[in-house]
């Protein structure tokens, strides 16, 4: 394949010197054998398949075709086992700390008492819900489903851009992408050691059932309705789990319990996986004008007669100002060193940092703390003088509501452009989906979003963004021939069985098998780093160490004085990862 990686950004597939990274060798060979014409033909088949299946998101304010397919690029993003192990450990640590934080602030708030996080910051967050203070949530779980946004900077270090703790969406695209890829490019997977993702919905159902207040409780998915931008996902998850997809009008509260209306009368509901924002859940507690919610739901929730996932009030922990303190939460609750770093963040709330923000606005990205979807943002390096001035007015008026971050140049990935028939670099991010129950389960994969508009750093689908299939390998590459790989990996037999099962159609494999296999694969890969792979993984982890050392100070918001001059990425592009349809369903709820 012809491709020019460039050297300004980290390229996922090629090294600076232009050599393919070992874990991408299989993909490169496959594309080389296929040829561009065949690759293109199948690309069209993919489009058609998505269109016919109605795998779409809703574009608001567009009269005719309100549903669009999510553009899909068939060059997969590949993550080797060693890198994934690092991400898995880092994300697990992070969601555990966030969950501990939420438990804490909705009860004794010790972390605030100990002065680790300023209490003012927490209590002034728009997403702090005093209505649920003191509620005993089932199993102590607040954030059942998390979709963390990761980016890679110029050095290839993974950074957390955002923790999405309310109702992160996009997982259906992850699953649909894999299904489409295995159907249309089956050959690309052969002998690659790609770990399956299809057990997500089974694991999700098990998690939801585990928080039910009653034995064998009834689980439902609550959607704002079919005009919501993420409706496809709501329906898809309900279908795959075999539970009812309900709207607010299907539910009612009576005798201290939640019921759904059926043709056979009422039926009690025990667990609600809600894809409706807090504000709209219960008109008696939150917005009285909400037609999407269920009157009286919060009271039943308070009594512990219904479980809600994610819990009410989780949004306080993904407030962009609170985000800056997640590394401190990890140290405070877990007594561990954070494995994944934040993007350095200045808080308008802190007068010293505010001063720095105002003085260096031209080099920074500003964000409103409660917003998502790229709203309320300012890209310093690209804004006009007037835009900056107008924006800073707002910042000065209400500094708590703003943060600023240095510009980070997102990593790039080879992407097929049908118009030129060429592979060109495009910026990507990564959103893995984390299920946080008694154990933390992360399906090996994620949604890789790609900024398809040339040169664009916006991966948002409304801005011409698309997605890619994301492969997590059970080795660090290169892929060995099938037979070899089986010998190499010990129980290769089981591996290939699982593999073929998932190729037949995901969701068909029983959880027990898929998961134990997954875990097997995991431990395998970690103990398997022998021979040539060893070097690779060592250099890999050395790089992390170095970057972490560099970045150690970033864990806490830097002092205003600490010059970010030497921060990598300072002079390059910004990443803005706007996300409307992926950021959560709240905006959509408002639009209705």
């Amino acid at each position: 394949m012809r491709y020019e990686p460039g050297n300004r950004f980290f390229d996922e597939m090629f090294t600076q010197s232009g050599n393919v990274r070992p874990h991408y060798q299989g993909v490169q060979e496959y594309i080389g054998q296929q040829g561009v014409a065949e690759f293109e033909r199948r690309h069209r088949l993919l489009d058609l398949a998505f269109r016919n299946q109605g795998i779409t998101f809703t574009v608001y304010g567009d009269a005719l075709g309100t549903e669009r397919t999510f553009p899909f690029d068939p060059v997969p993003r590949v993550i080797p086992a060693g890198e994934w192990a690092h991400l898995e450990a880092g994300l697990t640590q992070r969601v555990r700390a966030l969950n501990a934080f939420l438990n804490d602030i909705y009860s004794d708030a010790q972390i605030l008492g100990d002065g680790v996080i300023p209490s003012e910051l927490v209590y002034t967050s728009a997403h702090f819900r005093r209505e649920v203070h003191g509620v005993k949530v089932s199993q102590g779980l607040y954030t059942h489903i998390v979709g963390t946004d990761l980016i890679r900077n110029e050095l290839g270090e993974y950074l957390v851009l955002e923790d999405n703790l309310r109702s992160p969406s996009g997982v259906s695209y992850l699953l649909a992408n894999r299904q489409a890829m295995t159907r249309i490019y089956p050959g690309m997977f052969e002998g690659q050691g790609v770990r399956p993702v299809g057990h997500y919905t089974t694991a999700l159902l098990a998690l939801l059932q585990s928080v039910s207040p009653r034995e064998n409780g009834t689980v439902v998915v609550l959607t704002p309705g079919m005009y919501n931008s993420a409706y496809f996902e709501h329906a898809y998850l309900a279908q795959q789990m075999g539970v009812e997809l309900v709207e607010g009008r299907d539910l009612f509260v009576d005798a201290g319990r939640v019921w759904m209306r059926t043709t056979g009368g009422r039926q009690q509901v025990d667990v609600i996986y809600r894809r409706v924002d807090d504000d709209f859940l219960d008109p008696l507690t939150f917005r009285p004008d909400s037609a999407l919610g269920v009157a009286g739901l919060v009271e039943v929730y308070r009594q512990g007669r219904v479980a809600i996932a994610n819990a009410i009030g989780t949004g306080v922990a993904d407030d962009k100002a609170v985000y800056a303190y997640v590394p401190d939460m990890i140290r405070y609750y877990l007594n561990e060193t954070p494995l994944l770093n934040n993007v350095p963040t200045y808080l308008g709330w802190n007068p010293d940092q505010l001063e720095y923000m105002l003085a260096n606005a031209g080099d920074l990205v500003f964000k409103a703390v409660g917003e998502a979807g790229g709203y309320g943002m300012l890209l310093g390096p690209y804004a006009t003088r007037e835009e900056v001035d107008t924006y800073l007015e707002k910042v000065r008026a209400n500094p708590r509501e703003f943060i600023a971050q240095p510009v980070v140049g997102l990593s790039r990935h080879p992407t097929f452009y049908p118009d030129t028939g060429e592979f060109e670099p495009a910026h990507v991010d990564l959103r893995p989906y984390i299920l946080c129950g008694q154990d933390v389960t992360i399906v090996p994969g994620g949604l890789t979003r790609v900024a398809l508009r040339r040169g664009s750093l916006v991966v948002n689908s409304s801005q011409g963004g698309g997605s890619k299939d994301t492969w997590v390998l059970d080795h660090d590459g290169p892929a060995t021939p099938q037979g070899m790989s089986q010998l190499w990996h010990g129980d290769g037999l089981g591996q290939s069985q699982t593999q073929s099962q998932y190729q037949g159609g995901f969701g068909s494999a029983p959880l027990g098998q898929g998961q134990s296999q997954t875990q097997g694969g995991q431990s395998q890969s970690q103990s398997q780093l022998g021979g040539g792979n060893q070097t690779q993984s060592q250099s890999q982890s050395r790089r992390y160490d170095r970057v972490q050392a560099d970045a150690q100070d970033w864990g806490t918001p830097p002092e205003a004085a600490s010059s970010p001059e030497d921060a990598p990425g300072q002079h390059s592009f910004q990443q803005e990862l706007a996300k409307d349809e992926l950021g959560g369903d709240s905006r959509a709820g408002e639009d209705r």
């Binding site: 016919n52 309900v246 056979g264």
Partner: protein
């Protein structure tokens, strides 16, 4: 096994809308083909179709003329016409979207493909002589959809609601066709052989509009006789688009629903049984000559069953 009221309603209406799309496509296609050979009489041959679906005033206001072309566009593509093919498919698909987690993906995909193919067309189809293909596509899509349902949809309550919707729509539609055709029979003209031939052709169209022409020929050997055609389409025991057959199947679907919650809604079943009884015991002359019961009355009976279903299952707390 339980079924959300909202989903039961969606299934019921999906049955109605897909059936409606098919019926309209069939009628339009037959009428269009027939009218090609009757130059100058377009108005006469199109009027009953318009009476049957309604909306003449709107049509006139929008197109400024009532002719073969405007009526075709109105019935096929016009989303302002709630019973056009495009509207029916659109509504069916909206209902299916609400059921995506409930119905097999294949059913959804079939309907979604149809939507993409038939709901974004306009008069350009007429300009390129594409109405025939358009109607055939819509008809085939409906049959394909019900075929998938037949093969893959579990026979639970949901199936029965869809079936009830389909059968109610079919019986209702057949009655309307007979009503409009019956009204336009010109007994005076029958003496004139030329007029007679024309009338016969119209009745053949009625049969073809219900895919009943071949079945009628096999069953009734006296030829094109309006009374026998009426009898066949109203009361035939075996033809699956006759009013009687539709009513019987509507009743059966409702009886199946009743089995999920026995005796909960006696009124629904009572009305359905009453309708079936009328169609089983009435003679064709009673209906067409004596108006006992009149076509309007039978139509009213169908609608009462529909209203009872709505009240019993969709509106309850």
């Amino acid at each position: 096994m339980l079924l959300l009221s909202r989903l039961a309603e969606n299934l019921f209406w999906i049955g109605r809308y897909v059936e409606r799309a098919e019926n309209t496509a069939r009628l339009l296609n037959v009428n269009y083909s027939a009218s090609l050979e009757m130059a100058g009489r377009a108005r006469e041959s199109w009027r009953p179709l318009l009476e049957l679906t309604g909306g003449e005033a709107q049509l006139r206001a929008k197109y400024g003329r009532v002719d073969a072309r405007s009526i075709s566009a109105w019935l096929a593509f016009d989303r302002d016409n709630p019973s056009s093919i495009a509207s029916s498919v659109l509504h069916a698909r909206e209902n299916a979207r609400g059921l995506r987690d409930r119905i097999p993906s294949e059913m959804w995909e079939a309907l979604n493909r149809t939507y993409l193919n038939v709901c974004f067309q306009d008069e350009a189809v007429l300009a390129r002589d594409g109405l025939f293909e358009y109607c055939v596509e819509a008809r085939d899509a409906a049959q394909f959809f019900f075929g998938i349902a037949f093969a893959t949809l579990p026979r639970d309550e949901g199936w029965s609601f869809m079936r009830a919707g389909q059968m109610l729509e079919r019986g209702d539609n057949m009655l309307r066709v007979l009503q409009s055709r019956h009204r336009s029979v010109d007994t005076q003209a029958l003496a004139d052989p030329k007029q007679r031939a024309l009338q016969d052709l119209r009745w053949v169209s009625v049969l073809k509009g219900a895919s009943a022409y071949e079945a009628y020929r096999k069953r009734v050997h006296v030829g094109i006789d309006p009374i026998r055609i009426g009898e066949f389409l109203l009361l035939d025991e075996f033809f699956p688009r006759s009013v009687r057959y539709s009513a019987e199947n509507l009743h059966d679907a409702l009886a199946q629903i009743d089995r999920w919650h026995p005796g909960a809604h006696p009124e629904v079943l009572r009305l359905a049984r009453w309708l079936v009884a009328r169609l089983q015991y009435a003679r064709v002359a009673d209906i067409l000559d004596e108006d006992n019961p009149a076509l309007e009355e039978l139509l009213g009976d169908f609608n009462r069953v529909g209203a009872a279903i709505d009240a019993a299952f969709f509106q309850q707390e």
